[in-house]
Amino acid sequence: MRRVQARQSLAVYALMALVMVFFLGPILWFILLAFRHPSEAYTLPPQLFFEPYLGNFGDTFVDPGNNAPQLLSSVIVSSGATLLSLPFALAAAYALSRFAMRGKEFIMNWYISLLIAPPIVFVIPYFILMSRIGWAGSYRAMIVTLQTLAIPFSVWLLKSFMDEVPLDLEEAAWVDGANRLAAFFRIIIPLALPGIIVTSMFTFVFSWNNVIFPLALSKQSTTTLPVGTISFFASTGVYWGHIAATAVVAMLPPMIIFLLLGRYVVRGLTFGAVKG
């Protein structure tokens, strides 16, 4: 009996090892590419051990460093979109979490329908609208239009966190004479704070990884890092070293944030629908 179990767990480990190589291998291979000298990008058979070369990062972020401003743009656009969505989403999530009202389900479904609608449908009209109102290529244009994704997502996730704040605590505050607004700031906000932080982190990552809005609405000086990586294909030949260096920098913040989020990953990726 014990032998069978040992053999079974060995099989599970072997399969999981294959799974991990399959899912993490391509990422590691690309990170290695960022540290290879451009002349070694295509060396076959593949070399796992080599003299690390930092020139790719130097070229892209230091001198001439064309991608450094894109990193700043990414931070501005993602933080801006996250901060702008919060007041709207907090109010809506509180209403949906704490009140019985007609059409609640319809409104929840309406928010999610925006999340799964094809963004390209909205982007082209925005492209023309923004040049008409003089916002073409501005950070504002990207931050505002990203709200079509940021607000519905944050409403769903924040509602799931607010649902977990016990109603009794709020009622106790009302009895003590606090009005709804005061109770909201004194009870809900502090107790839902972890949820608010988690929601902000997810909104930041989704905005960071978004390409379709900046691709259509940015100009060269405001474009974000993921869009910046694409531009290397426009010039003659493909500079894999430069692409890899910028892409590695672009992939780091989402990876780190997801590792920090730990047990909230399931909940965030399902907009709060699965608690995890």
Binding site: V12, L15, M16, V19, F22, F23, L24, P26, I27, W29, F30, A41, L44, F88, A91, A92, Y94, A95, L96, R98, F99, A100, E105, M108, Y111, S113, I116, A117, P118, P119, V123, I124, P125, F127, I128, L129, Q147, T148, I151, P152, W174, V175, R180, N209, V211, P226, W240, I243, A250, M251, P254, M255, F258, L259, V265, V266, L269, T270, K275, G276
Partner: protein, 312 residues
């Protein structure tokens, strides 16, 4: 639920204030209003813009405003000038096969994780990494791996005698769309795996034990107990992923640009090409409305057949 969740409407002295009562009843709608108004403005503008311009001839390269009224010409041109039918077929193929593959592959990994062997917790935390990447970055990873000359995968596959098309997998009309689907599957299988794993954890041990006592085989238990209990989660995941795949743009853009020819063109990429490359705003507007109608039909069919009644 069930409790009215309305604030007390009397003051400290116990005086009834009808105004405040009315305010409290309106409060949830007042709180919802800002987000709903912002979102409505952000959605209705593009849709109205597209509806109007879909009946006008307008190429942005010829002028900053619509040139002349053209009736239904744009809607006809969508099928004559752009490969709309091909794009629709590619999009549906990608969405159906991609969702199917990711769900079952993810389920397999979730069942492996559910054995709770030592060390699997760390693996689960790292497993999600592909899903955290921007789709364009995932596209670059695989463009590099799949390069026809010098890429690791063609080299390895040729080494074991697997036929590799001379233009590479992304440059071959038969494998381009399949490759996009595989890259998406690589990126999103971990998502299915960890969410389905969370679902597996929520199934109570008692139910499983009862079935075991009744002598159910593991196979039977999976189909008769585990899967039906996972249904609400699965239905939600499948809908989200199906639509995200239906909207595929980033991966297509980086991996194949819809090529070779129109072999891997999706609806989103078709819209991008006509709108932001050819600047055919009128034509794009007509296509936008066709896509909006298709998406509404899909979502409503799904809600009717899968959710029947409400489940989330």
């Amino acid at each position: 639920m069930g409790d009215p969740r309305v604030a007390p409407t009397t003051t400290h002295s116990g005086v009834w204030l009808p105004d405040r009562h009315a305010f409290n009843r309106r409060l949830p709608y007042l709180l919802l209003a800002p987000s709903v108004i912002v979102l409505l403005a952000l959605i209705l503008y593009p849709l109205a813009f597209a509806l109007r311009n879909s009946f006008w001839f307008w190429n942005l390269q010829m002028g900053p405003a619509p040139l002349y009224y053209s009736g239904l010409d744009n809607y006809r041109m969508v099928f004559q000038v752009t490969p709309f039918a091909v794009a629709l077929k590619n999009t549906l193929l990608l969405a159906f096969l991609g969702t199917f593959a990711q769900f079952w592959f993810g389920m397999g990994v979730a069942l492996l994780l559910h054995t709770h062997l030592r060390g699997l917790g760390l693996m689960r935390a790292l497993l999600i990494m592909p899903t955290t990447l921007a789709p364009v970055v995932a596209g670059f990873l695989f463009r590099y791996l799949l390069e026809p000359k010098g890429g690791l995968l063609p080299w390895a596959l040729e080494g074991i005698g697997f036929p590799v098309p001379p233009q590479g997998f992304l440059g071959n009309a038969n494998t381009a769309l399949l490759s996009i689907g595989l890259v998406d599957t690589w990126q999103w299988t971990p998502f299915f795996a960890i969410v389905l794993y969370a679902g597996l954890l929520s199934i109570s041990e008692e139910v499983k034990e009862a079935a075991q006592v009744d002598g159910a085989s593991p196979w039977r238990m999976f189909w008769s107990i585990t899967l039906p209990l996972l249904r609400p989660i699965a239905a939600f995941l499948v809908m989200i992923r199906f639509m995200q795949l239906f909207n595929s743009f980033d991966l297509v853009f980086v991996l194949t640009s819809g090529g070779p020819g129109t072999a891997s063109r999706t609806l989103s990429f078709n819209l991008y090409r006509e709108g932001l490359v050819n600047y055919n705003i009128g034509l794009t507007a007509a296509m936008t409305w066709l896509v909006v109608i298709i998406v509404s039909v899909i979502i409503n069919l799904y809600l009717v057949f899968v959710y029947r009644k409400r489940e989330w």
